[in-house]
């Protein structure tokens, strides 16, 4: 049995000046080597949950431990071991791809030859090796998406949090990104992935959990979840069954 890398117990979060619980009494365990898909409509609590897992915001109650460590006592160790790829581009547009990656790699403690090698290898594996010395603001959307991904995984994290890693990219970039992530997972990185693109999640994730109103409805492999809902043919049917068909603009 694989060891648990993310352990969440009775986790709750209520924002100041908000009566609703963004995350309510949530429990979850994610094991080493999993690709866990966290799915849910807008405002369901996905971002709040990921933000707490990344140590960006503090929970109102409950416990989060990553690799057996908690943010309260070992925040820096956890941050060294995790990688985060946000949905919005988070890099310096006026710097080159190499300059961006070298900077973010350094912030994760990479230096010298290791930094050089990881930057070179990352650019090569994502088809950006001939664009390393070009400014990122001259890149296409797909290339920017790949740089955004590389900046979060250059230090080869044990746990990777991905938020919509392929949104707005062409098929080629999407393929390159998904292949890269699968390889990363094979090399030992546990992945927590959130997306609204359910067919992609169904194909990519080993296990998924659907979150609604701050609570986890159910977790399981995509096939198990589909089988658990009468008449469901895919994850989209399961998703609509759990969350309903109304708009989620709030």
């Amino acid at each position: 049995m694989n060891r648990t890398v993310i352990h969440i117990e009775n986790l709750s979060k209520r924002y100041r000046d908000d009566e609703r619980w963004a995350v309510a009494n949530l429990g979850l365990a994610i094991e080493e080597g999993e690709i866990f898909g966290l799915l849910g409509p807008n405002g369901a609590g996905k971002t709040t949950l990921i933000s707490m897992l990344c140590g960006l915001i503090k929970p109102t109650a409950g416990l989060v431990s990553i690799l057996g460590l908690t943010y309260r006592t070992c925040g820096s160790k956890i941050r060294s071991a995790i990688g985060v790829v946000p949905q919005d581009f988070a890099f310096y547009p006026s710097l080159t791809a190499e300059e961006n990656l070298r900077y973010f790699g350094s912030m994760y403690g990479l230096k010298g030859r290791q930094l050089d090698e990881n930057v070179r290898q990352g650019l090569e594996r994502l088809g950006l090796d001939s664009y390393g010395k070009k400014r990122v603001d001259t890149f296409s959307g797909g290339m920017k998406r790949r740089v955004n991904l590389l900046a979060g995984v250059l230090h080869k994290p044990a746990v990777l949090f991905l938020d919509e890693p392929t949104v707005g990219v062409d098929l080629h970039s999407k393929q390159a990104i998904m292949d890269y992530l699968r390889n990363l997972n094979k090399e030992g990185t546990t992945i927590v992935y959130t997306s609204h693109h359910l067919p992609e999640a169904q194909e990519f994730c080993s296990r998924v959990g659907i979150i609604e109103s701050g609570q986890l409805w159910r977790t399981g492999s995509p096939d198990d979840l589909i089988a658990s809902v009468h008449g469901a043919r895919n994850l989209e049917d399961v998703f609509l069954y759990v969350t309903g068909k109304g708009y989620r603009d709030g």
Binding site: R16, L56, S80, F91, P93, S106, M107
Partner: protein, 426 residues
Amino acid sequence: MAKLFASIKKELLLLGRDFGGLVILFVMPMILLVAVTMVQKGSFDSILGAKMEVLLVDNDKGAISQRIKDGFKESGELTLVTSLDGGVLTEETARAVVHRGDFQLAIVLPENLSRDLQAHVKHNVDEILSAFDFSADSLQTSGVPPEEKEIKLYFDPATQSSFKTAIRMTIDKLVSNIETKTIYATFQNELGDADNAAFSEQKFISFKEVVESAGGMVAMPSAVQHNVPAWALFAIFFIVVPLSINIVKEKSQGTLVRIAMSPTPYGLFLLGKTIAYAIVSLVQFYLMLLVGAYLFPHLGLHPFDVQGNLGILSAIALSSGLAAIGMGILVGTVASTQEQSAPFGATLTVVLAAVGGVWVPVFIMPPIMQKLSAASPMNWGLSAFYDVLLRRGRLADILPEIILLILFFTVTLTIAILYDKKKRTV
């Protein structure tokens, strides 16, 4: 250490690729320094240096008008014009051309000014002597005293009040001088001893100007010595604008969140910015010194002289830079958008410069503003520069200002960090 170097390098790369930021930080202050110093030199020249033409309507044609002509000629500051287009200058003409702005000043001497002054003095002397009954049989009072006389000064409405006051005082002094001489002469005449100079006409009290300086050497403050450190400080504090924009961008483009999720402490992230912008502030300072020392002489200005105090001046520039960086980080942390941080940072810098004595010296400000100026970090920096450049101050003399500037940096940085922490605690 590798993280810190990477942070500094990243900041310098970002700055190097921000053309607008480079212009704001390095080019604009130099243009400002040259322009302001040239303008100030120009205005000084127009009042004190270059010969300004002043109209003189001489209806007196006596000793007083001659004394005024001689007095202005001796001072060499003003050229008196007594006729226009070959014609005799009248009060009406003079008034019209001053009103048009062709001349800044017209002096109109009334008719018989010298004669009536003489009569006025004689009348007074006679009154005094008769009161003492000196040879009363031989003395006769000189009848009705003459009417009071008025010298009219027509000024261009745009003339500065300081210039008006200076002119008024100069003419008053010249007239008083003649009046005194006339009094002495009349007394001697009345006492029947005109050939024997019993009354010394030599000045009993004279002025000697001494500019106090610790080392005995006198360093006169000039426009150049004021402007180079003052505008260097202004440039250094303008760091607030690009630095606050830089921090707002870090927030809006998500890089700050990426750093917050990395094992790099926020303090180290800010330290990288602080060191990079401290380097910028020193480069700005040295560029301004180079402009003052090497470009100014080519523009007909006095060269700026660091007087062998480059080390201490650099320490002041560096601590001023730190104060500016603290303020920039605070503005950038509190502001949500560039539209907020840029105008706010720029306005704050201009206000601090105005209050701190960069535009006009503190001593000519109203009392309330003089008190307020003590709260401006730019005033602390400027005082430290003056201490070194004009008062021959050493490091110990400027230590209070340096401590204040570093304290300002510490306080603003602490507030920024606490504010950021509070904002994250959602």
